[in-house]
């Protein structure tokens, strides 16, 4: 008997209130793992061409990872997948918390919803028995409130995934929450859940998760944990910004060591990079037109890592995570104890809108979490509206009297509230910047910074072109959690996977912008590796430790009883990538249609700041990536059954 997976999934047809269990053959797990791989396979087969993302034919999948619950570390991620209403193609989102083991402990590797319910319902699984219950009284309530109510009602220990008012109002930038504000935010899957009138999913599972060799998995975990616990005393928060300044000024770049980032994460969480990122040129400022010169160290001092740490009450760990990058912070506002905002949220609601007011960032972050709206997309959309206002495309009357100048925190809070409730101008902006720009017209589209309709995250591709490649080549575009040159350096895959290039320890920065074959090899390796990670339920921050320190492949072998080489796992990752790409093509989303926003790739280059004079040949990089994946380099179409090519080096 093998292990790691439960071997079956649950189908819930919301239209007719029917449940079915489907046994998944072992070959599928061997071919596509569990998690998003399993979802990609099922959704590719079962969602008919031309299905309306917000209609009954779309499938919303909640999947757990292959390694979740096996005693491995950093494997508490759960994934949602479906046809995205935001991009029209493959949509997935990924979230931590405690839901992932709960799915498996109900006896399933995934829970798949189809159809549309007549009235609001929620799914309750207790002792393995699924049941749809009326959620009329919960409709309209925020995520934290709903979650607390449902946990109390089902005995006090259930794990809950829930949408807020944003998802109910079918905002295309809404997500799905668990643990009072951890959110699977991207790809607009909250709207899919809202369209199905499914308010929540309550899991009360107690099944045990089979493991092939638990002792071996645990032995590997102990080794990995030693690296995680290695934590020297470190410099203060505001000082961390100056490390970024030094990195910016130096002409050479040092290959990034993931252990350094791990130390920062363990101490501060993702907010450790707030100021440093602006200084290096990694964080976009002022809707991507500004630079560190506009939002320098002094202006951003209010959001320095220590400002967040001083409010931290207790650290927050996702399931099976020894690192604990999250935190619970105390606020003076009406919400009391809230989740510590993440780097992406702080920069999207801060630097991108030139807002340095810490209190307002806490407030907006919590408002968005409770509404179940993506902070990255919401911040990006507000920044877009700000630039439209500056350019005179949106007038004060259009904005319901809001003076939406750069950094006007009070106006931003009002706008967020309007977006959540879809009131006035909020209705226009609740579907993201591209949808709004198309409605506004007047050339507003050139200020919408997006990939395939999804707002870009807070990593500037002009600093690390690897980000830009993944923004425009992934089946779910505009995502920062798949690859970059920086990530490739931190993953240290060459230590485990043969044939991958090892970056030099020091190199000149200009090297990053050369669109050569090696960049494509690196990008393809990142995509493949993250597909394996999303199949296994692994957290990216754990993987940053480096392949030699986090035994991802060895865990998979020990948990499942397979005997696979890292190269074989990378081939699985490539197969999943092809599945997702084919999904897009089946649904009419041409890979070439992800139009590149000129500003993002430095056309024309910026004339000041960290990314001054930087530009890149994104079309060539994209075409190289497709070739590396074994797809048509002109169209990005996988040709029939693609056998993933081993990287040639």
């Amino acid at each position: 008997m093998n292990g790691g997976y439960m071997g079956k999934i649950l189908w819930v047809d919301l239209t007719v209130n029917e449940f079915r269990e489907e046994a998944i053959p072992a070959e599928i797990y061997e071919k596509y793992l569990s998690g998003t791989g399993l979802a990609a396979w099922l959704l590719s087969e079962r969602i008919p061409t031309g299905a309306d993302p917000l209609g009954p034919e779309n499938i919303l999948a909640f999947v757990s990872g292959l390694l979740t619950g096996t005693g491995s570390l950093f494997t508490g991620r759960w994934m949602v997948a479906g046809k995205s209403p935001l991009t029209g193609g493959w949509g997935d989102a990924n979230c931590g918390g405690t839901l992932s083991p709960a799915i498996k402990r109900c006896g399933f590797d995934g829970i798949f919803f189809t159809g549309v319910s007549e009235k609001p319902v929620y799914l309750l699984i207790d002792h393995g028995r699924p049941e749809l219950k009326d959620a009329g009284h919960l409709w309209g309530k925020d995520t934290a409130e709903t979650e607390e109510y449902l946990i109390a009602e089902s005995g006090g220990h259930a794990r809950v995934a829930v949408i807020g008012p944003a998802g109910e109002n079918l905002s295309l930038i809404s997500g799905i929450c668990n643990d009072r504000g951890r959110i699977a935010a991207r790809s607009g899957l909250g709207a899919v859940m809202g369209s199905k009138r499914l308010k929540a999913m309550v899991l009360n599972g107690k099944k045990r998760i089979p493991v092939y060799q638990r002792a071996e998995v645990q032995r590997l975990s102990r080794q990995c944990n030693k690296w995680v616990q290695l934590q020297p005393p470190f410099i203060s928060g505001p000082m961390a910004a100056y490390v970024g300044t030094i990195m910016r000024i130096l002409p050479t770049q040092m290959a990034m060591e993931g252990m350094v980032y791990k130390i920062l994460l363990k101490k501060w969480g993702t907010v450790s990079m707030n100021q440093m990122s602006v200084e290096i040129g990694d964080a976009p400022v002022m809707n991507w037109k500004g630079s560190n010169r506009d939002w320098g160290i002094r202006k951003s001092l209010s959001v320095n890592p220590d400002a967040f740490k001083s409010r931290e009450k207790v650290k927050y760990h996702c399931y099976s995570c020894p690192l604990g990058c999250g935190g619970v912070c105390v606020t003076k506002g009406p919400y009391g104890d809230v989740h510590k905002p993440e780097y992406e949220s702080v920069l999207a609601l801060g630097g991108l809108c030139m807002n340095g007011d810490l209190e307002s960032i806490f407030t907006m972050n919590e408002m968005l979490n409770r509404a179940g709206m993506d902070t990255i997309s919401a911040g990006g959309t507000i920044a877009f509206a700000m630039e439209c206002y500056e350019q005179g495309i949106l007038t004060r009357e259009d904005l319901d009297g809001l003076d939406l100048t750069w950094g006007n925190a009070a106006a931003m809070i009002t706008l967020v509230e309007k977006m959540i409730k879809r009131e006035g101008v909020g209705d226009l902006l609740a579907d993201g910047s591209l949808a709004a720009a198309r409605k506004i017209g007047k050339g507003a589209e050139s200020y919408a910074v997006h990939a395939g309709g999804q707002e870009l995250p807070m990593h500037d591709g002009r600093n690390d072109p690897g980000f830009n490649v993944h923004y425009y080549v992934e089946a779910a575009p505009g995502r920062h959690t798949i690859g970059a040159q920086l990530y490739y350096e931190m993953f240290q895959l060459w230590k485990r996977v043969s044939g991958l290039p090892r970056p030099p320890l020091f190199y000149h920065k200009d090297r990053k912008y050369v669109a050569d074959e090696e960049k494509a090899v690196m990008a393809a390796a990142c995509s493949r590796f993250m597909n394996v990670a999303n199949g296994a339920g692994l957290c990216m921050f754990g993987l940053f430790l480096g392949a030699a320190r986090i035994p991802a492949f060895a865990w998979l072998n020990a948990a499942t009883g397979w005997r696979r080489t890292p190269e074989e796992y990378m081939a699985i990752g490539a197969a999943i990538q092809t599945l997702k790409q084919s999904f897009n093509i089946k649904h009419g989303v041409e890979p070439r249609s992800f139009q590149v926003v000129d500003r993002v790739v430095g056309r024309p280059p910026q004339n000041r700041g960290a990314n001054k004079g930087r530009t890149m040949d994104i079309e060539k990089m994209r075409s190289d990536y497709w070739r590396q994946c074994g797809w048509d380099p002109k169209t990005g179409h996988p040709d029939g059954e693609v056998t993933p090519s081993r990287p040639s080096h």
Binding site: R20, E21, I28, E57, G69, Q218, R222, P322, G327
Partner: protein
Amino acid sequence: MRSSPFKGEVGGGWANLTEQYFIPGPQRGYDMSYRITETCNGCGACVKLCPVGAITGEKKNLHLIDSLLCIDCGACGRICPVTAVKDSFGIVCERIKRNAWEKPQIDLKTCMPCGICIETCPVNCLAFAEPVLLVRELHAYPFLKEDKRCIGCGFCASECPVHAITMSSPSVTD
């Protein structure tokens, strides 16, 4: 007819759950389960204790364990006053007084903390400590919050990757 993903036979095939819900999957990990023998006097002590509701039976009649629900925690075997329960190896379980059941002792120096034990506990008796009880910088550590609910199954100890949990009966530690 509306197109539906319910079509087609895939692998193990379909089961209509509205009629009969539980089907054995091809990859079930714990096919062996605890069993109740003829000795059962139907007192119902195990029914109340079973964390997954796997035991059914009329009062004063032979009880039955649903092998597809049983998670092998062994609580029924420990509580049974007439030793009528056999474990998955067919060995008759010994009765142990409830106050002598083993309970988890958590070594906070070894603990990471990762929360695996909290999610593993079938009776949810472990929880993260309130910040008052913190021992190291801001991290919350697990503790036995509701020791009366603990059934001494030892799942927390066996699933802890760093062996921070040991099971010991109160008489040893007190």
